[in-house]
Symmetry: C2
Subunit: 353 residues, 2 copies
């Protein structure tokens, strides 16, 4: 089991444990406290519940963006009161990014904030969203428009949970690792190149697990290095939005029928095009990044939707600040920077895409 | 205009301006930013709107505990998106404690937190709730069970707004100043004794205004001294709950038909009884505190409700932590301390009340 620690200035620390058996960390921490487990029903059906001690309350939910509403948050918060939770209780979110987003949101609001544990059970959540403290629900007007910053105190990554994940989501999730490698960590990028066959095919459990734990480790370490400097996304943390400006707009346009990671992968292609346009990255590096995306079956699909509609989504996103879009541009393999783009320029670039 | 500043470690500062003309602080701060004003309709009807510049969006709401729901928060958050708010916008809450609680809650959640201004227009909000950063909405299970800590950057106290306030609420609101004097500041207590006639009768506008601004000044200064040391209520801030353990339970039992301040005043009588029971305060000081409560027409009314029901409310309150009730006990005029009380003891004390 690999251990990482995230310690932004003036905030509680997050302990991260990655690998088979990482869940052993719960026993000593739970003790007499009430633990309210918000669990994706797919995981709940695995039958872990009988093994959990009596101070755990089990609350199954159906994962997916449809879960992330203010109304569902209220349902969960009421269930927490009825289960006898108080300020000393813990909310433990067991599921993918949507369960983590809702669980973190509820933990931050219950009694003005209680302790949060994250147990990501999808590729995307393991590689990215379980660490960093962002919580969110959606509005009809757009995704993640409402939320808080409330880091987990404990994150447990057990690769075995991925047996439940559909192949398409697994592959899409790896796009976040590619994002982290391209924007922040050349070694992670090289690891993804080297282990591409093992990671994609998943033939041998032990071989895959070793490679996957390595990628989770480096992805989360890269994210932690950014988050420790800028938890509240006023500067450097915007680098983590690489691929997400177009990615979020596509995801909204498709109304959730296309996995987040596939939208991010298409957004990475756009970010590479922007980098080329701005002369920010050497063209052989752009080719190398494109080749890695293709190796994970993320191709540069044509954009079929009207640019007007995409721009409407982009301008409603949280990356906009007093009218300027903070756009993350790759500047090499493992490096990137944030450029303020006028909406007019972004629109012209999207039209050419 | 009196200026105060609240600066908890590692948090943005709150500027507080108290007195006629304090609102002049807005002009320079608003400039080109979008300001979303959440305004109690009673205030909106005063006709201030035509004077506000075009970057202000005016959103009237009906003040009262009924406003503080998750559903209403969603309505406001959606209106903010539709009004074109982004991360650089400001939410300005103009109204009593309930408008401030909902407005602060929405400001803390919109795009994971935007700047908040508070313009309290009731006695209670001016003396207490506009400063300190607590935001809240209610659940059917209890009041303020959900919320965040999100201090305003600017608080403007214009005493003139109190012309709209019903006499009963004005008198009830002064109970929070008595709480602050009794628990934290002997000089404020003496001021409330000295100016009781002027404050209660409000005959002469100028004389009243001077006395009232003085009381607001000392009340907020006393609160700020506590909040700067403990914004998130893990210790010393629990002193501010003096009178609120029983107060909140009474308020919940009456389902909002009795003003908050009247419930707190009754809670102060109970806290004095607990102090006597525990031998925590000299009996002449207990008498002096009782006399001040009576001068503001807060009498020691009989408790007519079943102790079982009161205890159920008390145990659901946020002041409970892993089963123990953190109870603020006065120990003299201007001093107090927090004692962990077993629910069994608290119950016996309530039965004698």
């Amino acid at each position: 089991v690999i251990a990482l620690r995230c310690q932004p200035a003036g905030e509680p620390a997050t302990e991260v444990r990655i690998g088979d058996g990482a869940g052993a960390a719960f026993a000593e921490r739970a003790r007499d406290r009430r633990v309210f487990a918000l669990v994706d029903e797919v995981i709940a059906e695995l039958g872990l519940q009988p093994a959990t001690p009596p101070n755990w309350v089990w609350h199954p939910v159906r994962g997916g963006e449809g879960l992330k509403t203010m109304a569902m948050a209220e349902t969960v918060l009421r269930a927490m009161v009825q289960a006898g939770c108080d300020r000393g209780s813990v909310l433990c979110a067991v599921g993918g990014g949507t369960v983590g987003d809702l669980g973190g949101f509820c933990a931050s609001l219950f009694a003005r904030g209680i302790e949060l544990w994250q147990v990501p059970t999808t590729t995307l959540a393991m590689l990215d969203s379980a660490v960093g403290g962002k919580t969110a629900v959606n509005l009809p007007e757009g995704k993640n428009l409402v939320g808080t910053v409330h880091p987990a105190t404990l994150v447990v990554v057990e690769p075995a949970f991925l047996v439940c994940e559909p192949e398409r989501n697994y592959r899409a999730g790896l796009a976040e690792a590619i994002k982290m490698g391209l924007g922040l960590d050349a070694e992670l990028f090289a690891l993804l190149e080297r282990d591409a066959a093992v990671l994609r095919q998943r033939r041998d459990r032990a071989e895959w697990s070793t490679a996957f734990v390595g990628v989770v480790h480096r992805s989360l370490a890269a994210k932690i290095a950014v988050v420790e400097q800028d938890l509240r996304e006023t500067g450097r943390r915007r680098l983590l939005n690489l691929g997400h400006t177009l990615g979020h707009a596509l995801e909204a346009w498709h109304q959730g029928s296309v996995p987040h990671g596939e939208c991010v992968a298409r957004g990475l292609w756009f970010a590479l095009d922007v980098a080329r346009e701005l002369g920010a990255m050497r063209s052989e590096e752009i080719e190398r990044a494109g080749a890695l995306l293709r190796r994970y079956q993320h191709h540069r699909m044509p954009l079929l939707m009207p640019v007007d509609e995409l721009m409407a989504f982009v301008l409603r996103d949280k990356k906009v600040d007093s009218g300027v879009v903070h756009f993350a541009v790759p500047t090499g393999i493992g490096t990137s920077e944030v450029r303020p783009l006028e909406p007019g320029l972004l629109r012209r670039l999207l039209e050419r895409e």
